[in-house]
Symmetry: D2
Subunit: 378 residues, 4 copies
Amino acid sequence: MGAKIKLGILGGGGDSLIGVLHRVASNMFDQYEIVGGVFNPVWEKNIGFAEQIGLPVSRIYKDFETLISEEVKLPENERMQVVSILTPNFLHFPMAKKLLENGFHIICEKPLTTSYEEALILKEIQELTKTVFAVTYTYTGYPMVRQMRKLVESDALGKIQKVDVQYYQGWINSIIHDPEKRASTWRLQPDKSGISCCIGDIGTHAFGMIEFVTGLQVSKVLSDLNYLYADNVMDIDGTVLIHCSNGAKGVIRASQIATGEENSIIVKIYGEKAGLKWEQENPNYLYMMEEGQAIKVLKPGNGYNSELSLDGTKLPPGHPEGIFDAMGNIYKGVARAIKGEPYDSGEFPTIMDGIRGMNFIEQTIASNADGNVWKSID
Amino acid sequence: MGAKIKLGILGGGGDSLIGVLHRVASNMFDQYEIVGGVFNPVWEKNIGFAEQIGLPVSRIYKDFETLISEEVKLPENERMQVVSILTPNFLHFPMAKKLLENGFHIICEKPLTTSYEEALILKEIQELTKTVFAVTYTYTGYPMVRQMRKLVESDALGKIQKVDVQYYQGWINSIIHDPEKRASTWRLQPDKSGISCCIGDIGTHAFGMIEFVTGLQVSKVLSDLNYLYADNVMDIDGTVLIHCSNGAKGVIRASQIATGEENSIIVKIYGEKAGLKWEQENPNYLYMMEEGQAIKVLKPGNGYNSELSLDGTKLPPGHPEGIFDAMGNIYKGVARAIKGEPYDSGEFPTIMDGIRGMNFIEQTIASNADGNVWKSID
Amino acid sequence: MGAKIKLGILGGGGDSLIGVLHRVASNMFDQYEIVGGVFNPVWEKNIGFAEQIGLPVSRIYKDFETLISEEVKLPENERMQVVSILTPNFLHFPMAKKLLENGFHIICEKPLTTSYEEALILKEIQELTKTVFAVTYTYTGYPMVRQMRKLVESDALGKIQKVDVQYYQGWINSIIHDPEKRASTWRLQPDKSGISCCIGDIGTHAFGMIEFVTGLQVSKVLSDLNYLYADNVMDIDGTVLIHCSNGAKGVIRASQIATGEENSIIVKIYGEKAGLKWEQENPNYLYMMEEGQAIKVLKPGNGYNSELSLDGTKLPPGHPEGIFDAMGNIYKGVARAIKGEPYDSGEFPTIMDGIRGMNFIEQTIASNADGNVWKSID
Amino acid sequence: MGAKIKLGILGGGGDSLIGVLHRVASNMFDQYEIVGGVFNPVWEKNIGFAEQIGLPVSRIYKDFETLISEEVKLPENERMQVVSILTPNFLHFPMAKKLLENGFHIICEKPLTTSYEEALILKEIQELTKTVFAVTYTYTGYPMVRQMRKLVESDALGKIQKVDVQYYQGWINSIIHDPEKRASTWRLQPDKSGISCCIGDIGTHAFGMIEFVTGLQVSKVLSDLNYLYADNVMDIDGTVLIHCSNGAKGVIRASQIATGEENSIIVKIYGEKAGLKWEQENPNYLYMMEEGQAIKVLKPGNGYNSELSLDGTKLPPGHPEGIFDAMGNIYKGVARAIKGEPYDSGEFPTIMDGIRGMNFIEQTIASNADGNVWKSID
């Protein structure tokens, strides 16, 4: 192949977990080389972190504007090709916009922006510049999530008639019942987190999962959200009734007050011929239920899986892979796109998935605010 | 103790599964003796079945009116004390009404009646006659369901803040997509099954489970139901948003088109301090999730369980009991009530639970019919 | 059919759990009527218990000899046909011997006798009298255990090449480490319990399970047993290497010091074409692993199961049955045999299975005593 | 910290899975930089692979002798510090020996060597040169395996009284029954694979797991091995009875003919106070069973875990990590050792663990060959 793809990183310094995740993932298939970035607005911390992770400091910049202006001066074969945006949400838009305008490919954490409107603007520029733009809905990178998508695509389920996705966490429980904590946690402040907490942070994953796995679009939502306290203006739990583009009905259930739950994503898809079940905390098991037959348990790496699924497994069956591997699979797909190699549309979520996610958040909040009524998602 | 309680049975003959369930359950704790009944409207089948199960035919009657008129003539110590009603739903009301009026105790299959109105009438008579009236929401008889109730009661969960109960089956899938079958299946005919299929048959179980386990009342519902075909007038799937009497929000999910699911009831209850999870198809495992602690798996028969739970286990830990044992536990509780012995209110569901179930069905159907709006449950 | 089979019971009175199990099981398929027995050697307790379970006292006898002498005087159509022996182990032999000699059918708890020699004597009489003789290896009555047997029989696994059965409990842990308790527990006294504790009580179940499921005979054993303390002469844990009649090798693992285990029987059978896994504490799930294919999960009541398995399920799929149902299935099979109806050899274990179990115990203890050497099982 | 540790790699080129595993793991905590190595004995492939993974070719050598002679010429701050040996087993010894003699640290795949004798020689040199020598028993790097070790160490289980470790695979099934395949597969040729197939390849993992988790030494073995065909001289399945240094008895079960099994390692450890269970294919769940209490399910990343366990988790609870993360944890520990930082002895297996593994293999094969008799492990 030759040289690795040159990757820059915005954010993700210090003890940022998302930083670890992206660094490891980018390295997983020998495709990327981290060449620089901006890890922290404070210069000492920025440089210090680069040294800590063994990166030469020559291409560590004081801010993203400088990164862009300096990198574009470099010869094309040295220049950063793609930039991962791991900063707080409100920075995604200005960073992505300017990077796109200067021809960089982008890997952006979700949510894509803080509003649907911003998201549409990015889309316009991305189309003009013909850049690769991935949004890291990480869970779509799991081999068995990919397998679900391909099973639906291959018509193994028949027409989808019911969808049900859960994303339950319990972490905000220890915050929400304490007046001081809930007044001071940034996740619960609209100016820092946008219009939604639970739906924006995790409900979007459930939404994205449905569209990824079924290939359908969610067309309508009706929500009932939970705030628990009058002085809390951010949703921390909610149930969203949905209708899909093919008429199928379903439900998205998201919670951050599901006490004791860690990161419990459960996907259930039922078609006329068969149903599928998958749980994120035990991601190497996929259950397929065909009418009148023994339930089938599919596991990664086996020959009966689709190519898309197998492409996301590095070792033989029985060697469990986890969330880092899921993100690694997404980076692998992005590499193919950047290099102009053929790839399956299931290899990474694009800016369109990010845009739909923003629309979902806004419509879900509106449905609840307007008294639990239906809202359309274009 | 002396003699066993004299039990009569209406319905449940031939190869009726519900008949087997009630017969075995009634025998489980040496409390009941089946003395007679009406197993079938056709006399030969009625008598034939009695002989087949080794019952003397002297107290097999041609119809329930005769049963009542003959039994009341018998001396009190020979007379039937309690009657189990296992007939098609529309017969529950006339049978129960007349039995109550003649002083018989009743064990009635759910749904209690075909309308909320009928249910209220029965309630009035039952209060006057001070009879014992059990409605067999069988799943409440499982030791670990009882343990959930007692854990909530003991405040082990703190204030309940979120409830989520699923009841998914897939059996109607093979019927609903076939125009002829869906036109001819009695479950899908309102004149035979009342106003609801899915919500009436299984949604009520989910509803009853919430009220049984949490001790809360569901106060409001908003539903989105699924009919799949324009020529089908009975719901076969649906999601119901709920609000509880303490303000907690939640969701009931019921389906008969969840392809490949058998009888998947999943109960999730989250309080401020801890959460609980239980699955009916694996009923001997209860998961308790306390914040920041290892998840606890509780199993029947262990000393750490409540008395109510332990009362429902016959063998030492590790000997799994099933649905027959759950029904047996309900019969055991009813026996205590009939004999005037003390019992826990969790030992069997009463007519009040049946009445609330009827109200739930009617309001859920109305919510959907009126365009997915909130309806109150008194 | 006419009248039920007349059943007598020896032992199982008071709060005996095994008594409950046999009473409920005998009632499960409307086949038996308990007509009398001897529940306790103390007359008041004997009679008192009969009254407590609602049994007329006319056929409660003071001892088993009287039961036999009185019952044989009754007209044939009133006489007890089959007797269940639920007494302490050392009584099995004299009771069974005399019952057989007087033409009664027998359902006997395991272990059959206290020695292989006694067992052979019973066999001889049973053959002469042509009586039905069942030994209640209860776990063989589970629908999915029956399904394993039939899958092996149908060659779905190919030639069996490896067997591994575990039976782990932890209950003796709280006794064995206390010098006083271990000196006073009857299970640990050879005069009361025979030559073995762990192997005799639960190892035999594992042994019987292998022979039941595979249709093979265990031909050789080499054991390493655990006594933990020098003053304890009874095995409380052990591993037994085995060779089967077809050359397959395997292992039986039994323990009563597996701290925290309840009743963990795990069966793993591997053939040239497929493997099977089943766990007793979760008995409604059977895992079938065919090379290169998705794992299959088989559940009771589904049409893909064998007739033998389906015959042991009373309700539709998704309604879990437990240990009482397993015993009920065995009683159902015995009823068929008594009535001279056709039945599958997998419906209940016979005296031959009991005899082989005794031989297994003796050879396993001898293997360990002689320094972990191979011993044959005829 | 400054610069990353300079890592060389021997073997693991082409589509070697073990190569991927080590490359990703070495990168996981920003501690290592791969600077060169020998990926393939064929020069074109060697260089080609280096280019493919984006490595400069200047320090790709034609063989390991050249690697050593060239690297030692480099200034100390540029020189390779540690070398990972991923070649076929018979090369481990000569490579490790010469590397040690020249002062390189070593990360070596298991088995350490092809004989116990070679292993002892390496040990001698390693002690003289005071180098860091890790043997990659990867499974010890899982957070919940580390937690087991710490729970035992903290006396949470009390005295260990029973151990049982399974390692079942089914992959050789498709080879062993085909005379041609079994004659031509290198794993079944003693000249290529040493004296053992199953025990050497996976039995050692089970052995190492016991010693790692319990802190005990296995002191005696008695084995029964399976060859299936007379013309096959390599064990493909076996059960090993063991005695531990504290007197505890137990069993190691290993198989490559457990049809349909993928990589099923199951660890069960029972102490006087509590038991532990863990399964490799579902590695983020650890079951702790304390007498008379609800079973506890421990999951990675939670505060109730030990520091050693938490050090091996990168994201918050509920984000499953897999086998790559386990290897990454081992590399992280080795980095600490190389840098002279403090580390826990549970962070990586050392040459001593490799040596004991070799001894275990030889004694287990001897036990079977000599007629299933006990053999000591020093």
